[in-house]
C-alpha cells in the first residue's frame, strides 16, 4: 500500500517536473518561464541595474572601454579595428541577440524550424530566391579576394559567440524563453546573409504584372498608362547635370519574341508601398552657420526590437557614430569627425525573370540558343518543428535559381521561370563599403568606399567638413537595352541576356551642384537624358517634389529647419488632387448632413497630415476608394497586374476626365471620372458611418493607428500600438500605419560636428527594460536625442561604464 502511494505521488511529481520543463503544444515550458530566478521575471531588469564594471572578452589585443550614455547608447573605445569589431559584436549581442538571430533565420529560410509547418511555404520561397546561395558566394569572395575584411567580420562573429557562451538562463532574451529554443553560434556568413536580406526587403520587380498588362492592354495603352518618366520629373540627380562619359548603351535586338502566356503565378512579395526614405545635404552657402547640414530618414517597417541600434565606434584613428544594423559591422547611416553620409533606397529594376525550356522531365538541361546547357541541383533541407525534414530541390541555371516550377506556386506543370538578380553575384562586398565609409575623411574616401557596393542599390548622400556635398546612386546595375527586363524574357534566346554592367564611373552622381543642395526620396534617379535604360515601377512622385521645392526656397538654414523638414507632414498629392476630386464631384454629392459635414471639413483642410487633422482621414479614404473604382475592372482580369501609379491616375482625372479608361465595359452606359469620384465619395460615406459608429473619433492619428510591432506579430503585448503621430505615405514624414521613418538623423558639419538622431524604439531589445521603447514618444513628436561624438574623457551624462578585457 505504502509503495503504491509513494510510486503514484513520485510519478505525479516527475510528471509535473517534466511538464514544467517542456512546452506542451503551443504552451511554453511553464516552470522554466515562471521560475523567478531563471524565467521571464529576470527580464524585468533594465541594463543599468545589471551594469558590470568588467567583462571578459577573449582575444582582445587591448582592453576596450564601453561608455553608455543616458539613452543606453554605447560608445566603444578600442585600440584597433579588430578589437573594435569584436567588441561591437559582443555589445550588440548583449542588447539585441534574439533579433539578429531571428532575422538571419528568416533570411536563411529557417523559420519552420521554430514555428512548424505554418512557415514552410515562406521558407521555401526565401530559399528559392537564393539569398543563402548569394551569401555563400559572398563568403567565398571574401576568402579569395579580401581576407582583411573577412578577419574583421570573423572578429565580430567571435564577439557575438563569446557573449552567447557567457549567457546564463536568467539573461537569455525573453523570446527564447517563450518560444523555448536557444541561440545558435553566429558566423561571418550570417553577417553577409543579413545584408542580402536587406536587398530582399528593399528590392522588387513587376515583371510578372507588366507581362500580363502588356497582354491585356496592348503595348500602346501600357505605355500611355504606365509611362517610364512622369511629366514633371524631379530626379535625384539634378536635371542640369550633363553626362560627359561615352555610354555603352546596347541597341535593342530586332524581332524579339517574349513568352506569350498569360501568367498565373503568385507574385513574389514586394517591398510594401510606403517603404522608402529621404536624404539630403545642403551646402554651407544655404545654411545660417555656413556649414553643410546632412539629413537622412530611412522608411521601413516599424518594428520592435528596432531594426536600428545606435553606437559610437572609436579607435585612435577614427570615431564614427550613427545607426548600426545588429548583425552587420560598423555604422550604416551616420557620421564621423570629417564626413556624414546617409542612405535611401535606389530602386531600379535589377531583378529579372527568364522562361526556362527544359530538355525533358529530368530538368538536367535547358535550351540556350542552339545548344542545351546543363543545370545544377541544390537540395534545400528545411527542418520543420514537429515534422519530418522537408527536402526541396531547386534547379539552378546560369541565370539563377528556377523559383517557379511544377512544385512551387505555379498553376501549370510546364511553366518554369529562373530569377536573375544581383544578389546571386559573388563579387560584391557591401560590408567593406561600410567599414571604409566609417573611416572616410573626404569625398575621395567616400567614393572609394562605394566602389565595393553592389546591392541593394542606394542613393548615398554625403557632406564633409571641408564643405563638399554629394550624391551617388550606387549599386551594380545591369546594362540593358531599352525595355529589357520590363517583361518576362525567353531564357532560350541568348539575346535576352543582360549585356554586362554599367561601369561604376557611369553611375549617376553629383558633387556640389549649383543649386546648393542634393537630395533623394526614391524618385527617378535621373531625367531622360541619362544615356542608360532606367526603369522601375515604384518611383516616388510627391516626396521628392515637396523636398526639392522646400530646399530650393530655403536660405539661412539651421539644424532645427532640417529637423522640421524631416517631420514635414504636407500632403502634396492631396494638394494636387483634392481640388480635382471636389471639382469632379460638383453637383453629384449626396445632400445628407454627414456628406455636407465631410465636404466642408475637406474644403477647410490645409493639406497637412497632422495627427489631429480630420481632412487627411477623409481624403485618404475618398482617394483610395476612387482609385479602387477606376481600376477595379483592370485588376479583376484574373491574372496578377499592378495599377498605374497615383500620379498618372490623377493626371488622367485632371486632363482627360472623359478618357475611355474610365469606362467600365461590363456596366451599361459610359462612365467617366465623375462617376468614379462619386462612387469613391459614396464609399467614403459608408466607411465613415461604420468608423464613427465603431470608433468615433476620426482624427488622422486615431484613424491610421501607427503601430510599432514586435517582430513576432502574435506578441502583441510587446508591440506599441496607436502611436499619436502625423504623416503618411507620399509625405516627407512618411509614417503610416506600419511603415515610416525608422531612423532620423541630422548632422551639421562645423568645426565641432553637431548631431541629432532618433528612432521609434529603444536601445534595449528586452521588452522588460525601460530602454525598450523609450525613444518612441520622442520620435512621435518630432524630437531627437543628442548624438554628438563623445570623447573618452568626457564624463558627463554617463549611465555606466564597462571595460572589456
Amino acid at each position: 500500500m505504502k509503495i503504491l502511494s509513494f510510486l503514484s505521488v513520485l510519478l505525479l511529481t516527475c510528471a509535473l517536473a517534466i511538464g514544467g520543463a517542456n512546452s506542451i503544444g503551443q504552451l511554453p515550458p511553464l516552470a522554466f518561464l515562471l521560475d523567478p530566478n531563471h524565467g521571464f521575471w529576470q527580464n524585468s531588469y533594465s541594463e543599468d541595474q545589471l551594469a558590470e564594471e568588467m567583462l571578459s572578452l577573449e582575444n582582445l589585443q587591448a582592453p576596450v572601454e564601453v561608455i553608455y550614455d543616458e539613452q543606453l547608447i554605447p560608445h566603444l573605445y578600442a585600440e584597433n579595428e579588430l578589437d573594435l569589431y569584436r567588441a561591437q559584436g559582443y555589445i550588440t549581442a548583449k542588447h539585441r541577440l534574439w533579433q539578429m538571430e531571428f532575422q538571419t533565420r528568416a533570411a536563411a529560410g529557417r523559420l519552420a524550424e521554430l514555428v512548424g509547418p505554418i512557415a514552410l511555404e515562406l521558407d521555401r520561397m526565401t530559399r528559392r530566391k537564393g539569398l543563402a546561395y548569394g551569401a555563400e558566394l559572398g563568403i567565398d569572395y571574401l576568402m579569395k579576394e579580401d581576407p582583411e575584411t573577412l578577419a574583421l567580420v570573423e572578429a565580430y562573429a567571435e564577439g557575438v559567440n563569446q557573449y552567447i557562451g557567457q549567457l546564463t538562463d536568467a539573461r537569455l532574451p525573453i523570446e527564447y524563453k517563450i518560444l523555448n529554443y536557444k541561440p545558435e553560434d553566429w558566423s561571418a556568413y550570417k553577417s553577409l546573409l543579413l545584408l542580402k536580406y536587406m536587398s530582399d526587403m528593399l528590392v522588387g520587380d513587376r515583371d510578372l504584372e507588366y507581362s500580363n498588362l502588356k497582354k491585356i492592354l496592348g503595348k500602346a495603352k501600357l505605355d500611355r498608362l504606365y509611362p517610364e518618366f512622369p511629366k514633371e520629373n524631379d530626379p535625384v540627380i539634378e536635371r542640369e547635370r550633363i553626362w560627359e562619359f561615352q555610354s555603352l548603351y546596347p541597341p535593342k535586338p530586332d524581332s524579339l519574341t517574349y513568352p506569350e502566356e498569360s501568367l498565373q503565378l503568385e507574385a513574389l512579395t514586394q517591398p510594401i508601398e510606403g517603404t522608402g526614405s529621404n536624404n539630403w545635404a545642403v551646402s554651407g552657402i544655404k545654411t545660417k552657420n555656413g556649414h553643410p547640414i546632412l539629413a537622412n530618414d530611412p522608411h521601413l517597417s516599424l518594428n520592435l526590437p528596432s531594426l536600428w541600434y545606435s553606437m559610437q565606434l572609436s579607435t585612435p584613428e577614427h570615431t564614427v557614430k550613427g545607426a548600426t544594423l545588429p548583425g552587420a559591422l560598423g555604422v550604416i547611416s551616420g557620421f564621423n569627425q570629417d564626413i556624414a553620409w546617409g542612405v535611401t533606397n535606389a530602386t531600379k529594376d535589377t531583378r529579372d525573370w527568364y522562361k526556362i525550356t527544359f530538355q525533358d522531365a529530368s530538368r538536367k538541361a535547358y535550351k540556350y540558343g542552339q545548344e542545351w546547357k546543363t543545370t545544377e541541383f541544390r537540395i534545400e533541407e528545411i527542418k520543420v518543428k514537429g515534422q519530418e525534414t522537408y527536402l526541396d530541390t531547386v534547379v539552378y541555371t546560369h541565370y539563377g535559381p528556377v523559383v517557379y516550377d511544377k512544385t512551387f506556386k505555379s498553376d501549370r506543370q510546364d511553366l518554369n521561370f529562373a530569377l536573375r538578380w544581383i544578389v546571386h553575384q559573388g563579387n560584391s562586398n557591401e560590408q567593406k563599403t561600410f567599414i571604409q565609409l566609417n573611416k572616410a575623411k573626404n569625398h575621395r574616401g567616400y567614393t572609394e568606399a562605394l566602389m565595393n557596393y553592389a546591392a541593394p542599390a542606394q542613393n548615398f548622400v554625403f557632406a564633409s567638413k571641408t564643405g563638399d556635398i554629394a550624391m551617388r546612386i550606387q549599386g551594380k546595375f545591369p546594362l540593358k537595352w531599352k525595355e529589357q527586363g520590363k517583361f518576362f524574357m525567353d531564357g532560350a534566346d541568348p539575346r535576352m541576356e543582360w549585356q554586362g554592367y554599367i561601369p561604376f564611373e557611369h553611375n549617376p552622381n553629383t558633387l556640389n551642384p549649383e543649386r546648393g543642395f542634393v537630395s533623394s526620396a526614391n524618385q527617378h534617379p535621373v531625367d531622360s537624358t541619362y544615356p542608360y535604360y532606367t526603369f522601375d515601377h515604384s518611383y516616388e512622385h510627391y516626396r521628392n517634389r515637396r523636398l526639392n521645392s522646400k530646399l530650393a526656397s530655403m536660405e539661412q538654414i539651421t539644424v532645427d529647419d532640417m529637423k522640421a523638414l524631416q517631420y514635414d507632414s504636407y500632403n502634396l498629392q492631396a494638394a494636387e488632387s483634392l481640388p480635382i476630386l471636389l471639382h469632379l464631384l460638383t453637383g453629384n454629392a449626396s445632400s445628407s448632413e454627414d456628406a455636407q459635414k465631410y465636404l466642408s471639413e475637406l474644403k477647410a483642410w490645409d493639406y497637412f497630415a497632422d495627427p489631429n487633422k480630420k481632412g487627411q482621414t477623409l481624403y485618404s479614404i475618398w482617394f483610395a476608394e476612387t482609385v479602387e473604382s477606376i481600376w477595379r475592372e483592370l485588376m479583376d482580369q484574373g491574372s496578377p497586374v499592378v495599377r498605374p501609379n497615383n500620379y498618372q491616375t490623377i493626371a488622367l482625372m485632371r486632363d482627360n476626365p472623359e478618357d475611355e479608361v474610365f469606362d467600365i465595359h461590363m456596366a451599361a452606359g459610359i462612365q467617366t471620372a465623375h462617376y468614379h469620384v462619386q462612387v469613391g465619395f459614396d464609399s467614403l460615406l459608408v466607411a465613415m458611418k461604420k468608423w464613427e459608429m465603431d470608433e468615433g473619433d476620426y482624427e488622422w492619428a486615431n484613424y491610421k493607428k501607427t503601430t510599432i510591432q514586435h517582430l513576432i506579430p502574435n506578441f502583441k503585448a510587446f508591440s506599441v500600438p496607436d502611436v499619436y503621430t502625423g504623416g503618411g505615405p507620399g509625405i516627407l514624414n512618411a509614417t503610416g500605419n506600419r511603415h515610416g521613418a525608422s531612423w532620423r538623423m541630422v548632422v551639421e558639419l562645423g568645426p565641432t560636428v553637431k548631431a541629432f538622431g532618433i528612432y521609434p524604439g529603444g536601445q534595449s531589445g528586452n521588452p522588460g527594460s525601460r530602454f525598450y521603447d523609450n525613444f518612441i514618444p520622442i520620435w512621435a513628436s518630432g524630437d531627437y536625442v543628442n548624438f554628438d561624438l563623445k570623447k573618452k574623457e568626457d564624463q558627463s551624462g554617463i549611465l555606466f561604464k564597462t571595460i572589456l578585457n
Binding site: 509503495i3 516552470a31 523567478p36 530566478n37 521571464f40 521575471w41 533594465s46 521588452p767 522588460g768 525601460r770
Partner: protein, 123 residues
Amino acid sequence: MKFLLFTLLCALLVVFLNLIAPFWVVMIAIASVATLVRPSGWAGFLGGGLGMGLAWLGQALLITLSTTSTLPDKMGILMGLGSGLAVFGLTTALGFILGGFSGLTGVLFRNLIQKKPSDVYLG
C-alpha cells in the same frame, strides 16, 4: 514545529539553491529535506508547497518592486491571463504545486524506507 521548520527550509532552498540551479533540482532537494525532517504527510505537502510557492512569490514581488518593470503585465496579456496580478498568482500556484508534491514525495519515501520498529518493548 516541524511543519514551520520544514516550510522555512524549503523557502531557503529556493532562495539559495534556485539561484544557481533549475527548479527541478530544488524539487529534488525539497524531497530530500522532507525525508530528513520527517514532517507528516500533509505537513510535507503543505510545507513544501508554501515554502516554494511563497518564496517564488516573494522573489517575483521583489524583482518587480525593485525594477518597476511593466513586464508582468505584458506577460499577463501575452499568456492570455489578462493582468500582471494573474501572473503573480500563477507563479505562486505553480511553485506551490511543485514544492508540495516534492515534499509529499519525500515524506512518502521516508515512510517507505522506515522499518516498523520491532524491538520496542510495548508492555
